[in-house]
């Protein structure tokens, strides 16, 4: 399990888990689970397009993440947030289907991009993942106060001079960065589960923001590590374990606090 061919998997998954744990805290606070689902899922066509054009996959993913941020925020001017998100998802996936139909050799790649193939990660991917992850974490921490203020009390945030639209745009950009970090290595499903599961479970344990953020990272790491170990032992896909572990920790938290955490509103 700790052999040399697994080293890359452990390193990269750890970096992704830390990034997703931190960003996930704000996904939960801002009620943005749908956007956290759609940006990664809507970025996979970028990878398909890149393979079609013969350019680096990561470039395509970054381009489509950025397109997602622009598309969602543009549609949000006309629509409620979730309707805008759903519409962008439809458009992105339609393009994805088109690109996929043009290349036949991509079928296995789709499975990896959606559900993740942690094993056999190339060493060349470690550096970009580390850089993108570090940027995502740095931006999130820089925006920590305005993001939190805007999420918990929009009026107070407005008074403090942080425009709502700008904060939402910045947050979507952070989500996109996290997507670009994680998508090539763990897949769209796993980065979504990691952003939502651990952070929502952490809320049941404490009502102090900074502690909840830390716990979110700890739980995210625990989820990823046990998922990799279980996947190694059973040969079942990692994405399955990450998704189910997220569900289990959320259910456990809910049962402890029946009716949900009253303090975090």
């Amino acid at each position: 399990m700790f052999g040399s061919f697994m080293t890359n998997a452990w390193i990269v998954a750890t970096m992704v888990a830390i990034t997703a744990g931190i960003v996930g805290f704000f996904v939960v606070v801002r009620r943005a689970a749908f956007a956290a689902h759609v940006l990664p899922l809507g970025a996979f066509p970028g990878a398909a397009a890149a393979s079609l054009l013969g350019v680096n996959e990561l470039l395509g993913i970054i381009a489509f993440s950025a397109l997602g941020v622009l598309g969602i925020s543009q549609l949000q001017r006309w629509e409620r947030r979730e309707v805008a998100t759903a519409l962008w998802l439809a458009v992105a996936l339609a393009l994805g289907t088109l690109f996929l139909s043009m290349t036949r050799r991509y079928s296995q790649g789709v499975y990896a991009l959606l559900f993740g193939e942690v094993f056999g990660i190339r060493s060349a991917l470690i550096a970009p993942v580390a850089v993108l992850g570090a940027i995502a974490i740095a931006v999130t921490l820089l925006l920590y106060r305005p993001l939190l203020l805007d999420s918990l009390s929009p009026e107070l945030g407005e008074a403090a001079g942080t425009g709502r639209g700008r904060i939402e745009l910045a947050f979507l950009a952070v989500l996109a960065l996290c997507t670009a970090t994680a998508l090539p290595v763990v897949g769209a499903l796993m980065v979504f589960s990691l952003m939502v599961g651990p952070a929502s479970a952490a809320r049941f344990l404490t009502d102090r923001p900074l502690l909840a953020l830390t716990l979110s990272v700890v739980l995210s790491l625990a989820t990823v590590w046990s998922a990799i170990a279980l996947s190694y032992l059973s040969n079942w896909p990692v994405g399955f374990f990450v998704g189910v572990l997220g569900g289990v920790s959320y259910a456990a938290g809910r049962l402890r606090h029946r009716g949900g955490p009253a303090h975090v509103r």
């Binding site: 009620r31 689970a33 309707v83 998100t85 759903a86 088109l98 997220g246």
Partner: protein, 301 residues
Amino acid sequence: MGVLGLIFAPGFLSNGPVHTALLVGGGAAVVGAVVGVFTVMRGQSFAGHALADVSSAGGSASFLLGLNPLVGFLGMAALAAGVMEWADVRDARERDLLTGVMLGAGLGLTALFLYFASVTGSASGAAITVLFGSMFTIPASIVPAALALAGVALAVIAAIYRPLLLSAVSEDLAQAQGTRVRLIGLAHGWALALAVSLSAMTVGAILSTALLIGPAAAGLRLADRPGRSLALAVLIGLLATWGGILLAYDSYDWTPGHGWPVSFFIVVLVFIAYLLAALLARVRARGVSLRAVHPSGCGQD
């Protein structure tokens, strides 16, 4: 005949798989549009999308077990809708998270079933079929069951139309009027499950969101009265679906050897309709505000 020949590539009107696609796709579009209007009004777009994705776990399981795909898709969607309503979460944030966590677990199951399918070698390309759908490969034997289910979903919505509309506009008001809000929520949840599993099978689990949300959002842009929004949404959904099937069929002639995917055309048509609706609504709103600034005729000052 010359013009018709340009629009309909030879064989379109006499092709068996095309008939099946037109029937099942049309049913999915109508049900999706009707249920979608209420889903958008109730602010449950995310739940709608999540149900579609979760239903794909059932779809991949039936792929694996050799069951009728309708059973798998529908069973899983109904189960998930039941869990969501049973958990009875009022707080918007909690609802968002519950939906998200359930979606993660459901997609995890999909990953597992698809993995089993690839290991047993029962189906290569199962991932693509389950997630993206394949309208021209729907077996004709499924048509009666699919249309019957579409009918059931429409009947459910028709039966609870007034209280559903009331609780979509204001839950508190509905409660004050003696509506059993939870029961209505559950009924809507199951209608939603029916709608998304139907469209999950036709345009694929991932793209069924387009049929659910797109026409409904456009219809709601275009009209203020719910009845009119419903009618427009149905019209847009049907035209986009049938137009998409036609274009996909014709596309075999544009690029010899392979056609373009149906789902792509349907979503593009739906999205164009939405953009036009949004544009029209903006123009109209500007007209109204101009009239408000320059009240013509009945001058008071």
